[in-house]
């Protein structure tokens, strides 16, 4: 039964998954081209010097890509459920409601996780040949808030789409914008190191906000 729900989510998102994979790979490749260009034109030492002295990671172009991915995934997963209140079909399935929603949200989080981890691995493997571990971790840690923002985007868009009333949708969007803003407040290198794990845990917990929307849907709030 859980497998069937995953199957349904996969049918909704498979083309998007492909698109997001292509986008992430394309952006990663672009950033690596830029790094490669610096190395070939000015030498590796120049690249290292920039990384040591400035808050620059050569991956700034990726800043909003994970957020965009999270938002799109939530839209692709939950807009079809809310068109013509199709969510009723889902909630009528002979499974506890929390299991159904948990599976759908878990699918989304894991899909994002897979995309993001793959992106990190590609970046890490490429940089492994060019930079010292200190600098690789500096780049990866500086980028981490952007990826957590991807989960936050997913959480709040799902929360908003599943919400039955427009008034509350507006509130959810505003809260989401404020929460996501947090991940882009500081652009200094490694600024989020102390709290990023906590932010990730909190963000993943907030994915559960959708339960609140579904419970309001079930109460028929208008």
């Amino acid at each position: 039964m859980i497998k069937a729900i995953l199957y349904k989510e996969w049918i909704k998102t498979r083309y998007l998954f492909l698109l997001l994979a292509i986008i992430l790979v394309a952006f990663t490749a672009y950033c690596q081209l830029r790094i490669g260009k610096v190395v070939s034109l000015r030498g590796a030492a120049h690249l290292w010097e920039i990384l040591l002295t400035r808050d620059h990671t050569f991956h700034e172009t990726m800043r909003y890509v994970p957020l965009f991915s999270g938002i799109l995934l939530a839209l692709f997963q939950f807009v079809p459920e809310m068109q013509q209140k199709r969510l009723k079909l889902c909630l009528h399935l002979p499974l506890p409601q929390s299991r159904i929603m948990g599976t759908m949200l878990g699918f989304g989080v894991n899909l994002l996780m897979a995309l993001f981890v793959a992106t990190y691995l590609i970046i890490g493997l490429y940089l492994y040949h060019v930079l010292a571990p200190e600098l690789i971790s500096r780049i990866l840690l500086t980028m981490l808030p952007w990826f957590v923002a991807g989960f936050a985007g997913y959480a709040f868009v799902a929360f908003t789409v599943l919400e039955p009333t427009w008034r509350r949708r507006l509130l959810n969007v505003l809260a989401g914008v404020a929460f996501i803003r947090i991940f882009y407040l500081s652009s200094y290198a490694e600024a989020y190191n102390q709290v990023i794990v906590w932010l990730l845990i909190i963000t993943l917990a907030l994915v559960g906000f959708s339960f609140l929307s579904v419970s309001r849907f079930k109460d028929g709030v208008q």
Binding site: G43, A44, A45, L47, W48, E49, L51, L52, T53, D55, S98, H129, V130, L131, A132, E134, L135, R138, P145, L171, A175, A178, F179, I182, L185, S186, Y188, A189, E190, A191, Y192, N193, Q194, V195, A205, L206, G208, F209, F211, L212, V214, S215, R216
Partner: protein
């Protein structure tokens, strides 16, 4: 599950408001506090300052006693700072305080030193380029490698191939062992850039608190232990590389004393200024051959000390205080606390609660009464009680979301 998330959502909205409302308020009301640009004048032997009146967009040149100067007069009482203007006007005296001066002497002796908390409170990758300090070229060249300090040694990494240079690492490591450096290194400072006149490498303290000077001289390590009073616990170092070559570095110790390390004899001299906490306050030194004007400032105060350039003893000092310092602002009546994530004194992101105010309790109580009146038709529940307590404690931050989430 949804009940838990109801509470979580409420708490999240409170946090967002505790962050954004004070931010908006400060954005709308905060006036930037600025102090006059102040230097010690060797001529009038007092502080001279430029008081910028932002309303008139005009500058007033005055001294501490309130005497006014024209711009040209001001150049003359600060000849060491405005010497280039004086040279152009052909007014630079050839002796000041009995010492012969020329523009080139003044240029060599002048320096500006800056330390900002935000440059200290940040993550450093821990890789250090070590320049060749006695290269045969006129200009300094950035090296092809960087070193890292490990738990028990030093290691050079060749950047082009991204591999440890074992030979060079072993060479330096042997010198470190020979000079009895106790690993790991505690604090290290240098200016790894080729945009400077000369290179003095790095100064560091080892695990025992001993101070060392590290340079690369013709590819060979130069490592020199610097004997200092063992009572002095060095906490932070700035390699100066001033053009007069009189000092290797400025340093602070655990008791916030500020020192200069003289060159070439490695003497640690106390600079006679108030305690300096580099993590919290910024410092600017305008130095010349006679006096240093040391400016220490934080959010509310700015202390300016004139120090004798020869003895480093204080000559005079004055303090500027932010006039808003002890005033209770409207914000403290509105907000019981303020949440922010970033700061001007560091480059970190983490939640910071500040500006706790009990003056806001009055508003909190008013809002509590209003909340009870507005929700009088609701059934009494644990949630209602929770929200009421939140409004009483967190005031407006809890009141607005309580209304927004009302059924």
């Amino acid at each position: 599950m949804s009940k838990t998330y109801k509470i979580i959502y409420y708490i999240l909205l409170i946090a967002i408001l505790a962050w954004l409302l004070p931010w908006l308020y400060n954005l709308a009301t905060l006036k930037r506090w600025s102090t006059p640009f102040t230097l010690y004048s060797e001529i009038i032997e007092d502080f001279a300052m430029i008081n910028v009146n932002y309303d008139e967009k005009a500058s007033r040149f005055i001294d501490r006693k309130g005497n006014s100067y024209t711009e040209t007069q001001f150049d003359s009482i600060l000849p060491m700072f405005y010497y280039r203007q004086l040279v152009t006007d052909n007014k630079l005296p050839d002796t000041i305080r009995g010492t012969h001066v020329t523009s080139s002497i003044i240029r060599r002796e002048n320096f500006i030193f800056r330390s900002r908390p935000s440059e200290i409170n940040m993550h450093h990758p821990g890789l250090y380029p070590l320049l060749e300090s006695r290269s045969k070229r006129v200009d300094l060249v950035m090296p092809e490698d960087v070193f890292r300090l490990t738990k028990n040694g030093i290691e050079f990494i060749d950047m082009e191939v991204n591999q440890v240079n074992r030979e060079k690492s072993a060479l330096f490591q042997s010198v470190f062992i020979q000079k009895e450096v106790a690993f790991p290194v505690q604090t290290i400072a240098g200016n790894p850039t080729n945009r400077k006149e000369y290179d003095e490498g790095y100064l560091f303290t080892d695990n025992d608190g001993k101070l060392f000077h590290l340079k690369q001289v013709q590819g060979r390590p130069f490592l020199r232990p610097i004997p200092i009073d063992p009572e002095i616990n060095i906490s932070r170092i700035w390699v100066t590389e001033l053009s007069n070559r009189k000092y290797f570095a400025f340093l602070t110790d655990a008791n916030n004393h500020f020192y200069a390390l003289t060159a070439p004899d490695y003497n640690l001299v106390n600079i006679d200024i108030p305690p300096f906490k580099p993590e919290k306050e910024s410092m600017t030194i305008f130095g010349n051959m006679f006096t240093w004007t040391v400016v220490q400032s934080n959010n509310t105060d700015e202390i300016v000390t004139a120090v004798d350039a020869k003895t480093l003893a204080a000559i005079d000092s004055m303090t500027f205080c932010n006039p808003e310092k002890d005033k209770i602002g409207t914000a403290s009546y509105l907000f019981p606390l303020q949440l922010s994530f970033t700061s001007t004194v560091d480059k970190f992101f983490y939640p910071r609660l500040k500006a706790f105010s009990c003056h806001a309790l009055v508003l909190n109580l008013v809002l509590l009464v209003l909340y009870v009146v507005l929700c009088r038709k609701n059934k009494f529940s644990a949630m209602y009680l929770f929200k009421a307590v939140a409004v009483a404690v967190l005031g407006i931050f809890a009141f607005i979301p309580a209304l927004l989430l009302k059924q």
